[in-house]
């Protein structure tokens, strides 16, 4: 049964007629062509499909469309236009934190989440903050370094708890 669902997607108001049990992941990828959201495991275990829903980092494979009514969703496609992204991007590049790239958009959003949550994240907090995102290539070390580097480069960019595009 189709239902009209309104929500905000990367700062734009959108509306879609969709079965409310359909996964947010599929709607983002298929209906909105946002293919930076990746499907890794379909079971909420790998973090390749994370997006922000009202500033919370969520696995979009676990979210039915009925749960996003009037919510604000940010994907990598929206986030890549921010100052925060620029700093994280430069840090990932410098630290060598990208290999195959499949987990990378998710890792970058998780990094944003860490930097917004902790003023000066410790290594343990970084590990905790990335623990929902699986990477099979890097051994994570370079990603830890990238998060620390972003903090160092970005300073007060993360003083607000809300992401604004």
């Amino acid at each position: 049964m189709l239902k009209t669902i309104n929500f905000t997607l990367n700062n734009e108001k959108v509306s879609i007629d969709v079965d409310p049990v359909r996964r947010l992941l599929d709607v983002l990828r298929i209906n909105f062509n946002l293919t930076g959201v990746k499907e890794g495991c379909s079971e909420g275990e790998c973090g390749a499909c994370v997006v922000f829903i009202n500033n919370q980092l969520v696995n979009s494979c676990m979210v039915p469309m009925g749960n996003v009514i009037n919510k604000e969703i940010i994907t990598i496609e929206g986030f890549k236009n921010t100052k925060q992204f620029e700093v994280i991007e430069a840090s990932f590049l410098e630290a060598g934190a990208v290999q195959c790239g499949f987990c990378t958009p998710g890792m970058i959003l998780a990094t944003e989440n860490i930097l917004r949550t902790y003023k000066n994240p410790t290594l343990e907090e970084i590990k905790e903050g990335l623990s929902g995102n699986i990477c099979r290539c890097t051994g994570y070390q370079s990603i830890f370094e990238a998060v620390m580097l972003a903090k160092e480069k970005g300073g007060d960019l993360w003083s607000s708890t809300v992401i604004s595009l």
Partner: protein, 709 residues
């Protein structure tokens, strides 16, 4: 661009922005989806299949739609779709193809397959017992058997004997991007897109299965989200399947596995059993008898070559004068096993390192010291009676490892505490770069091309793929650096067999060392003629003179060059739960000369952690032919929380026939880690470890066994 400058990865920006196009991100007009009907039993005859009536625009695709129903790998024993017999749970029987995934699932649920079950074989032991014979035209279940020896074991006398049986289990590659291919046929040209390591393996398989003319088949690699060997030979099967579907319906057909299918039914690392018997006199290992068995599953695939890689370097970093080696691949009705980073070496190196560790404990010598006393030197004889031609710097490597890890101090002054048993372990392993034996010269015959364009850019034309390891950056850097242009002026697109020559598969730690060297030589030619407007140069592989190999008797130099590693692991074992924490990993590597230190670091850290998974976390088992761990929760790979402190160092030992002196690295970084961890756990708990992964359950078993005996 100079080779010593640090490079930023050329492929990273698109990946970070989510703009990379993995197979599932590619757009096609009128795309149809495929889903696989799979065998529910381990072995049996297909008596009958009842399909529901297919609605308009929905299709069944099976063996009848294929010209030659064989997947061309090395052998041809695996069908593309099972015809009248199935040989493992999950074996593909047919596709249902159509436009709606939901509809396909609905139709699939209505299919009824009637089987007549046949007796099956589920382990190496059962396969050897030979009560059930599962191979046609054979009176045993041995796919392949190799034997070689050197010196003479029988003349050894007055030796102390050490024996051990060592076991390893499945490991799943668990690349983040699942298996996926698209077939598209417009009546003139068959295009297959895929998340693949070896475009020409796929093309050759398609030529064999479709019998289309070679120039009507085109294989295009899509951005590949990790592979680790899992996309070496396996995608050839899937490509043949989607090709059959695309040729039948003349519309693009996409197959993407769901994660459970991918974990349960695709190739994995071979489970192994290794018996080693050593003859020791005067604290020297005088001779060794080794017997390795691998579980190959129901089709041979690449298993013969995997076994060879297990065997050829099975004396590791050590000189053993007298040797008797046997290896077999046994057929079973388990899931079929194949390529995985290390390719047979992790199995034999775990067994060897663990065995020598146990000898050292038996002789009351520090394992580091005993191993060091056996290091091979330049000019020594290899396990296959060849010669170590190149300069060997193992002593320096060991010195650097001692310094980096502070091994001796830590071994002798172990902290005692109430919560943990603490242990430290060391491994030294080689890994041969490029194909085994004369494979590069006789089998692969790599060819590369460079095209100089009028705008002073250069197109890099090879069939090797970027899959995360950094090939695009490393190879572009070599070319840019030789010619003396910016790395941005080198274009290296994903290979499309219509445009690139066959430079061989992206496997066997060969991309930098072998393909990179051909590009290095080609780039020298480009540099010389750089003033000319546009031209193409070509370079073909020539085997170096010292690569003397007799494939029939498995004698000679099994590899062109070896890379070497030394790894020290420190572990904590919880005294109550037996949970293992790897606290620190140190590695020192001789990979010739690094092309780019950041890429090298990425391969080392990544390999260390995948090796750590194999050593103590990634427990994959099969019960009656069914893989028991089928998702990320049941099959735990290392997460950010499991990461130890890691440190590494390099020994610079330039290899004359590698680009700027580089040798292989991709696999080496994994191979030495499991034995270092297992030895550290052995050191911590004071009991012998014979099996990886060393799980808490296994430690409990070992301790209980020790109590009872």
């Amino acid at each position: 661009m100079k080779i010593d400058e640090r490079t930023l990865r050329v492929d990273a920006v698109k990946k970070m922005r989510g703009e990379n196009e993995f197979l599932e991100d590619l757009q096609f007009e009128n795309l149809h989806y495929a889903r696989t009907l799979r065998s529910e039993i381990s072995r049996g005859i297909i008596k009958n299949i009842v399909y529901p009536e297919m609605p308009k625009d929905y299709y069944i695709v099976d063996y009848r739609d294929i010209h030659t129903n064989e997947v061309a790998m090395i052998d041809f024993d695996m069908p593309i779709f099972a015809k009248d017999q199935v040989n493992y749970i999950g074996e593909p029987i047919a596709f249902i193809v159509g436009k709606s995934k939901d509809k396909i699932i609905e139709l699939m649920a209505q299919v009824v397959v009637e089987y007549e079950a046949l007796p099956a074989v589920y382990s190496i032991e059962e396969s050897k017992a030979n009560q059930v014979n599962i191979l046609d035209k054979k009176d045993n279940n041995i796919f392949v058997k190799h034997h070689f020896s050197k010196g003479s074991i029988s003349t050894l006398s007055d030796c102390r004997i050490f024996e051990g049986y060592y076991e390893t289990t499945y490991q799943e590659q668990l690349y983040m991007e699942k298996q996926g291919v698209v077939g598209d046929y417009d009546g003139e040209e068959l295009k297959v897109y895929g998340s693949i390591q070896c475009p020409y393996y796929v093309k050759n398989a398609l030529i064999h299965s479709t019998k289309l003319p070679e120039d009507e088949i085109r294989v295009i690699q899509s951005d590949t989200g990790g592979a680790f060997g899992g996309k070496e030979e396996y995608p050839s099967l899937l490509a043949c399947q989607v090709a059959a579907a695309a040729l039948k319906i003349k519309k693009p057909v996409r197959l993407i596995f769901d994660r459970r299918e991918d974990i349960m039914y695709t190739t994995k690392r071979h489970p192994s059993q290794t018996y080693i018997k050593s003859y020791v006199k005067d604290n020297k290992i005088q001779g060794m008898v080794v017997d390795i068995s691998l579980d190959g599953g129901p089709y041979i695939g690449l298993s013969d070559v995997v076994l060879q890689r297990s065997l050829f370097t099975l004396t590791g970093a050590y000189l053993i004068e007298n040797l008797d080696v046997t290896g077999v691949v046994m057929a079973t009705n388990n899931v079929f096993t194949g390529a995985f980073r290390g390719f047979g070496a992790p199995q034999s190196m775990f067994a060897l390192e663990q065995h020598i560790n146990q000898i050292a404990k038996g002789l009351k010598i520090d394992p580091f010291k005993l191993k060091r006393n056996h290091f091979v030197k330049q000019g020594d004889q290899t396990a296959t009676s060849g010669v170590y031609v190149e300069k060997i710097m193992l002593d320096q490597l060991a010195d650097q490892l001692e310094k980096l890890s502070n091994y001796k101090e830590k071994l002798n002054n172990k902290k005692e505490d109430d919560q943990y048993y603490r242990g430290i372990g060391v491994s030294f392993v080689p890994h041969g770069g490029g194909f085994t034996g004369d494979g590069e010269a006789t089998h692969i015959k790599a060819k590369v091309k460079l095209r100089k364009n009028a705008d002073d850019t250069v197109d890099l034309l090879v069939a090797n793929v970027e899959m995360g390891q950094g090939a695009k950056t490393a190879l572009s850097k070599i070319v840019a650096s030789v010619i003396g242009i910016d790395i941005e002026a080198v274009h290296y697109d994903n290979p499309d067999t219509k445009y690139v020559p066959d430079s061989g598969p992206t496997v066997a730690s060969r991309t930098t060392m072998v393909v990179g060297q051909l590009l290095y030589l080609a780039a020298l030619k480009v540099k010389e003629r750089f003033d000319e407007e546009s031209f193409v140069v070509e370079e073909n592989f020539k085997a170096p003179d010292y690569l003397v190999w007799d494939q029939k008797n498995l004698k000679g130099n099994a590899y062109m060059a070896y890379s070497w590693s030394g790894v020290v692991a420190e572990v904590l074992v919880d005294k109550i739960t037996y949970d293992v924490t790897v606290d620190k990993l140190y590695g020192v590597y001789d990979i010739g000369n690094p092309i780019d230190i950041k890429l090298v670091e990425g391969q080392i850290h990544g390999g260390m952690i995948q090796g750590m998974g194999l050593g103590m976390m990634e427990n994959m088992t099969s019960k009656k032919g069914l893989i028991q761990q089928n998702n990320f929760e049941a099959y735990s790979v290392p997460t950010s929380k499991d990461i130890p402190q890691m440190a590494f160092d390099l020994v610079i030992n330039k290899y004359d026939d590698g680009p700027y002196g580089a040798k292989g690295l991709g696999e080496l970084s994994l191979v030495g880690v499991p034995p270092a961890i297992a030895s550290a756990i052995e050191d911590a708990i004071g009991h012998k470890i014979f099996k990886i992964p060393v799980t808490p359950e296994y430690i409990l078993e070992v301790k209980e066994y020790a109590k009872d005996n």
